[in-house]
Symmetry: C2
Subunit: 197 residues, 2 copies
DNA sequence: AGCGTTCTTGACTACATCGTCCATAACCCT
DNA sequence: AGGGTTATGGACGATGTAGTCAAGAACGCT
């Protein structure tokens, strides 16, 4: 019927995402994306529309991946729930430090665009809400397993942990070193209400 | 001896800062800054150098103002130290929500530029360190006044509160509502170790 | 008042950038 | 095999952008 695509859509989107991730929305030119993906501009515009639409597509995919990752890391048997929580948060602290300022795309895009782009701010908000939900589920599992005080409000605590998570991200971008980020995370975990014994 | 400046340097810098604050570094053109300040481009370049140098100047001033503000809000008599702490953090939560996504310039600049601009990342880091110092001083005052457990590590707790502060900023930019931001802040404050009685 | 010095204004250059368009290529169905 | 249809690549136009420059304006010192 017609000529098929030559390029792989997913890897093109990944290349575009990495470019936006590195140089931001305003700082990334469509020529740079064309170079990064290897596509001609005709193909780029034909397949994805303009710059804004391409970014929205890329951002949507990335937000979903972020939510999936949180769910994957935080869900499982109650017995290891607390262990998964600490691994998730400490892993993030280490990752923030290791990537040395090449932080999270959600944070970067939100900071740059949320103010002006309703689509981005809405997507960021639901991403945070979903990560918080994953944390809430995990904390409830911790409560069932006796690692967290049963009377504590899991949703409140999840909100706090999400906030710490985003704060670690922000500090990491400024260059705070790994041991500091980890010890802040540990302080946050140590502040969680333990069950009476 | 020579013709004096017609414009007020400080208000020009403020106008430039607001422009960068609104549209980011890459998203702000020198023409936009010329329009915002009312200066011709010749004056702009003559007085401040290029775009990057202007931004560094603006950013430096803003970081100092941020540090000063933290010190002003957090220092004072031991008796009201805890009160000042809660006012500082809750005030920030409210401000984040009220400004509706027009967040903090330090966060925005760090997210956009820290990765590529050594000067910005260094300035961001020292800003965070100084705010943490102000928080540490406040927490030590709280300890002297018996509001915080005397054996607690004030610096660790200050690191956590700074992280929460930055996290609230990030969540606020995505559009999280005021009551949520405030209750997260209250949860963080409630998790501070209280003195034995 | 006259002069040297600095400031101001905005036209100008050189290049970057978004998006379009079209000639050509590749494929599928009949 | 041929034709209809869609993809490709890159030239192109219009506008945006960083930074320069020169002609003139405003001041203070003598």
């Amino acid at each position: 019927m017609a000529r098929p695509r030559e390029f792989d859509e997913e890897s093109a989107l990944n290349a575009a995402r990495d470019q936006f991730w590195m140089t931001g929305y305003a700082g990334t030119s469509m020529d740079a994306i064309a170079a990064a993906t290897g596509l001609g501009k005709g193909s780029l515009y034909g397949a994805f529309g303009g710059k804004r639409e391409l970014f929205h597509r890329v951002y949507d995919d990335h937000c979903n991946a972020t939510i999936d990752s949180a769910n994957r890391h935080l869900s499982g048997a109650d017995e290891q729930a607390f262990e998964r929580l600490t691994a998730y948060l400490l892993g993030h602290a280490t990752a923030c430090a290791e990537r040395r300022q090449h932080g999270c795309l959600v944070a970067k895009a939100t900071a740059e665009l949320a103010e002006h782009d309703e689509v981005v701010s809405a997507r960021s908000l639901t991403t945070f809400e979903n990560v918080q939900l994953a944390l809430t589920g995990n904390l409830e599992a911790c409560q069932r397993n006796g690692d967290i005080h049963p009377a504590a409000d899991a949703q409140q605590l999840a909100g706090l942990l999400l906030t710490v998570h985003r704060g670690i991200e922000a500090l990491g971008k400024a260059g705070t070193d790994e041991s500091t980020l980890r010890s802040i995370t540990e302080t946050a975990l140590a502040g969680l209400p333990r069950p009476p014994r």
